[in-house]
């Protein structure tokens, strides 16, 4: 327990909080992407230092973003609960070595790439099969909505499978899975907050999805949930891959000094 908060971790947490805020802000304003990417630091701390450190980073990020003078967090404060859950989950994934590189080759690698692609498609299917999206009379969606969703899913599946295959690394599958599960849970935690506190909307571009689901007859909570199940898995999958790629690029010497370090680096066998 106290091992999770060594001086090194205490030095890491504020840096991770600043990364969350600076990167979230930059991605939204410079790249203008409809994703949040404000949990890279949280997931990094969870993976490197454990669940409690991840939880603390997530909660503090949102509270500081909201209350610190001069940054102006708008309405991010109440979502501290979601951010905490994301950090906690990242810590659990780190404990089980999900983010460790797992070199593989041959049929095993091919199978992993196919499973990874299938995983992405399976998550998208219920969204696409949803009556509100399918029937133009119910959902009021433009005709291109379903093809667009399928297109995004196929691209995501190809990216995940290609990543796994080209890097000769089974970790692609694990990281995609961890991102998906984190995204689904984050959506389930966020929806009640957004529905109860903000009337179901968040003031960002994703509110279009909420509006469409409401038009389709969903109630306040279910509309927020539907929007979350659409945006969060994509967001958390991208975040997970960014963290994985950055960790893989770091020197094992640096990673091994953190509490979870030994579970993240593959120890090369000594040359005989």
């Amino acid at each position: 327990m106290s091992g999770q908060f060594s001086t090194r971790v205490i030095a890491l947490i504020p840096v991770a909080i600043a990364i969350n805020i600076a990167l979230g802000y930059t991605v939204q304003t410079v790249l203008k992407l409809p994703i949040y990417l404000d949990s890279i630091g949280t997931i990094l701390v969870g993976v490197l230092a454990g669940p409690l450190a991840g939880l603390a980073t997530g909660v503090l990020t949102n509270l500081i973003w909201q209350y610190a003078p001069g940054i102006g967090g708008g309405t991010i404060g109440p979502f501290a609960i979601t951010a905490g859950v994301i950090g906690l989950l990242a810590g659990i994934w780190g404990r089980y070595g999900v983010y460790r590189s797992r070199p593989a080759s041959g049929s095993q690698l091919l199978l992993a790439a196919i499973v990874a692609a299938a995983l992405v498609i399976v998550v998208v299917l219920p969204i696409v099969n949803n009556q509100t999206y399918l029937d133009p009379n119910v959902g009021g969606f433009p005709d291109w909505a379903v093809p667009a969703a399928i297109g995004i899913a196929i691209i995501a599946a190809i990216v995940v499978a290609g990543f796994t295959y080209l890097r000769h690394d089974l970790a692609g599958l694990w990281v995609a899975g961890a991102g998906l599960v984190t995204g689904l849970i984050a959506a389930a935690v966020s929806a009640p907050i957004s529905a109860y506190v903000f009337g179901g909307v968040t003031g960002s571009g994703t509110d279009v999805i909420v509006a469409a689901l409401r038009q389709g007859g969903a109630d306040v909570l279910n509309a927020s949930l539907g929007q979350g199940f659409f945006s969060d898995p994509i967001d958390k999958m991208i975040t997970s891959f960014v963290v994985f790629i950055v960790l893989a690029g770091l020197s094992p010497r640096i990673i091994a000094r953190f509490p979870n370090g030994p579970r993240l680096v593959t120890v090369d066998e000594a040359p005989s």
């Binding site: 840096v15 003078p69 003031g203």
Partner: protein
Amino acid sequence: MRRPVDASPGRRLSEPRSAELPPFLSRQPEGFYRSLNPATKLVIAFAMAAVAFAVREWTGPIVVLALVGTIAISAHIARRTVPFALATIPLVASIFLVNTFLYPGATDVLFKLGPVTATGSGLAAALQATLRVVAFALSVAILSLTTSTDDLLSDLERRGLGRRAVYVIGSAIGLIPRMLERAGEITDAQRARGLDTQGTPWRRIRGVLPLAGPMISGALSEVEERTLALEARAFAAPMHRTVLRRLPDSPAQRLIRWGVGIGSAVVIALALSGRLVLP
């Protein structure tokens, strides 16, 4: 000069006498609300946020708005709270559009606009959500406009908040502007190398890694230096640090803190359990 210290863990060192401190350290904010102890202002701000969110219908948000307004005017910060209120505009606009026109199950039609219908209960729900959001944003505003982070943290440390928490919060707040600046520098550097920030969504998604990668690896090497610096300054030593500045507090403020804290908790519990029905 070395001073002998009592090394028994957990024992507090002697409190400094404020008369010895230079004036810039013992500066005292002016005005009634500003000069309250930071902990009192923190409790008030959290209580107002909780009441605005948890007490439903009209009363909770309106009471909080009235309180916030009174405090803002009496502390002469009304003008400076305006940006905080303006920052809620995107959210408020969204709340109005989505709820007024698309409120589930509402039948009391106000008017029709093309394919969508505005309803009275939708408009009421939108107004309530707006009041909640604005009341919350302004409760945040008066805390951050009247309280300096240093004062708040040093007071909380005196009350027993661990030095690790104090370090994490204080250094995170100090780091954010620097990290934003660094994000800007990395963006410019990557743009000079051909990073596409205007193209299709797919091209822009590929820009995430060139931004995040250098930021995180740069930050992690900074963590290394900070760890050494902290260790060199006995950060992990099992003692309480001496508090240099004691901020004024009074029994009356203590009473206010407990009163506000318990009072708002009781009101919220009653309102949530349905025993207290407010308009």
